[in-house]
Amino acid sequence: MKKHLLTTLGLFCCLVASFAQETDEKKDKGEFSGNFQNTNQFYVNDPQIGTNTTQYKRELSSTDAWLFLSYKLKGFKFNLRYDVFNNTPLFNPSEAYTKSGIGIWSVSKDIDKLNITVGYFYDQFGTGMVFRAYEDRNLGLDFAVNGARVIYTPTENTQIKAFTGLQKFRFDLRPEVIKGINAEHRIEINENLNTQLGASVVNRTIDQSTMNNIVGGINNYELENRFIPKYNVYVGNIYNTLSYKKFTLYTEYCQKTKEAIFNPLINRMELKDGRVYYTSLSYSTKGLGINGQYKRIESFSLRTSPLENLNLGMIAYLPSLTRQNTYRLLARYNAVVQELGENALGLEFTIKPQGEFFKKHQTTININTSVVTGKNDFDLTRLNPVNFSDDTARYFREHYIDVSHKFTKKLKAMLGFQYINYNQQLFEQQSAQYKYVTAKTYFGEVTYKLTPTRSLRVEAQYLDTKQDLGSFINGTVELNIAPHYSFSIGDMVNVNRVIRNTQASSSDLVHYWNVFGSYTYKTTRITGGYLKQVEGVNCTGGVCRVEPAFSGVRLTLQTNF
């Protein structure tokens, strides 16, 4: 492995050097760029908030770092990323993973209307529901594909992509071959009406060794539950974006052929085909934006093999229709997309009243509502039931409103309310003590400009729930000194707490406080802080993972060059 890495690194340097040398003569040095990101964590055990992973007992610190280098010259592009993981909980919170090496490399070349890439690449077809190779460092995901890709752009309105390769898994590759083709074509019918059509086909082939494991599992089922698994699965989609004046309609249909998928509800594999229907309609005019979305998933688990679960081996990316919240307490409960089946409906309004007073004060109102149910339990007559707990088919529901207003040139404020119903048993596989969590969160933010370069921001949230860990209050005071410094101090307090996974008595107030500072110089940002973080689900766009509580020091460095 080491030899392989050195060879790759050597090859990269030689290629870059030889091209640089050749072009020195022509005074063309190409373009070199890159970035570096580093996170260091020092763990301080705090049984009161339930810190219990290996890093608190043994390793006491961890480091993640990524150095990305890119060199462009004469239509060639060389990419290389070196990854460092020392005792990291990033891939699996209960593990301390240590390994360093070349994470990805690639060489690509533009030849007229053709782009060819070999090595590792990230890409997606359409919204990514049939294929998405992407990286999310926040969640420890890296679904790069190692292989070859060709992109052909015959006209500015048409693009055809094709690839074949293996999915990356840490510093290794999954053995299942993935290949696919995608075509997109834009047609401008007239100045008010245009449409963009797309279609893709993806195929995944299971290797013999993985098939042996699948067969071994099937042979242990009761006879009536056994089936003939498939080596190949084919997935296709067609999608279209239709724009007419202020309206945009997006529709997508995905279908996959029968293959073995794992159903955790019955704890065994089944032979099933699957499909997804997705549509969104948006309307935008001066002072008003409306977006409505609907998605239905039926057994659409597309992974490198049915033996992978959670966030492992994902080939398809199924986006969430629920609101992506950023405030700490508002983002506490998220709807993990249910690939085995769900119905989701989301509706969002952005209103900017057009009266003189409101325009002057930049008043904006955001309203969002969403509901997620099981795939067989969608009933339009029950879209807004009074009591969520009585409706056990529901997975998730959220109502959200915020209003922001600029009172003076120096003072602006925002107030809002969020109401959530959350099926915790489903999303987090928690004990059945509370299957459903009902949470009401009141939140607000005030920003006051002290001087042209200094501002003070205060945010506060109160999450009221009788379930899960109980209620929380969160407050943060932040001082920004442009262009270099930012400091904040905050505390999140667990009030009316419910005992779960902690050792403190129920009468203690549990504080999750944090102190944070950052320094920014040009494209470099250094941050440091001491923080306590409550256990919960961390999500990006419907892909989530349950993260344990954190207590300790976190230092980060990020730079682009």
Partner: protein, 307 residues
């Protein structure tokens, strides 16, 4: 718009090709068992008294064929190893169906000789595939171990003796026993009852499987040999049928020292399975599952006559 029509046409062709491919029939995966269970009684418990471990026996899986000119040489190698290590080494002579037909197909009319039997079995083909199949014969697996310096489980017969010696030095992690005369016997004229007791003497994290094979000795039929085909060649240890799935039957639950699996299997011969009862034997072997660095490795093997 002409371009649009062209691209739509291309898309239609691509979709048609994909549908064509997806409609193609795939081979049924090796080792998949869709037949009813042959185990009629099953119990598991933990014994407080852990018995002494049995010496580790060795299984030689000899992949062979009646038209393979060098295979008799491998039969001799296996026979010598068995004779030198009585009751410690057992052989399965596997004639894989659908693989290496030029070596394994029986002699038929039009050939210089005619076979009475077709020794090939689907299970034999499954096992050949599972262990990584080879493009040549004779070839064999010794306890299904991937030996140091080897890239495959299947190795040439010239290496069998030395590798068997290595394996014989080990103790088994699981003892295989039966129950005397009422252990493995003919319950009815065409029904073989097999009572097996497996007792683990060590913990293991490897997934564990048990495989049971029916073999037949003393089958007289043509065999290619050097320099000429032998008409009355004695074929021994010929794999006739697997009682368990070809990949084995999984032993469920954590495997700890003292864990006992007692299982009764029944095999009912069909009218076409005209095997000589007197020459039938049962080979029981316990092995690792299909994943891990030492996948498939045989952890103990025993052979029994049928009473």
């Amino acid at each position: 718009m002409n371009n649009s029509k062209k691209y739509i046409k291309i898309a239609q062709i691509v979709i048609a090709l994909v549908l064509l491919f997806s409609a193609c029939d795939e081979e049924i995966p090796t080792g998949l068992n869709l037949t009813p269970e042959r185990s009629v009684f099953d119990t598991t418990y933990i014994t407080p008294v852990i018995p002494s471990p049995q010496p580790g026996n060795v299984l030689i899986e000899d992949f062979t064929g009646v038209k393979c000119v060098n295979c008799p040489r491998a039969h001799e190698v296996a026979k010598k190893i068995m004779t030198s290590n009585p009751n410690r080494v057992f052989v399965l002579a596997i004639h894989p169906l659908n693989y290496l037909d030029q070596f394994t197909k029986p002699f038929v009319e039009g050939d210089d000789h005619i076979s009475k039997y077709d020794f090939r079995t689907k299970e034999g083909g499954d096992i050949f595939e599972l262990l990584g199949r080879s493009s040549s014969m004779p070839i064999g697996a010794i306890n299904r171990v991937l030996f140091s310096g080897e890239s495959t489980l299947l190795i040439e017969d010239s290496k069998w003796n030395a590798k068997t010696g290595e394996q014989l030095a080990k103790n088994a992690i699981v003892n295989i026993d039966t129950f005397g005369k009422k252990g493995i016997y003919y319950a009815e004229a065409n029904k073989i009852r097999i009572n097996v007791k497996l007792t683990y003497t060590q913990n293991t994290n490897d997934s564990q499987y048990v495989s049971i094979a029916l073999i037949e000795d003393d089958l007289i039929d043509p065999q290619k040999n050097s320099p000429a085909t032998v008409d009355e060649y004695e074929h021994n240890h010929v794999l006739r049928r697997m009682v368990t799935p070809s990949t084995g039957k999984q032993l469920k639950g954590p495997i700890v020292a003292g864990k006992v699996f007692e299982t009764t299997y029944e095999y009912v011969t069909t009218p076409t399975e005209t095997w000589n009862k007197k020459n039938l034997k049962v080979v029981v072997f316990v092995h690792n599952g299909t994943s891990g660095s030492n996948k498939f490795e045989v952890r103990q093997v025993k052979e029994y006559a049928i009473n």
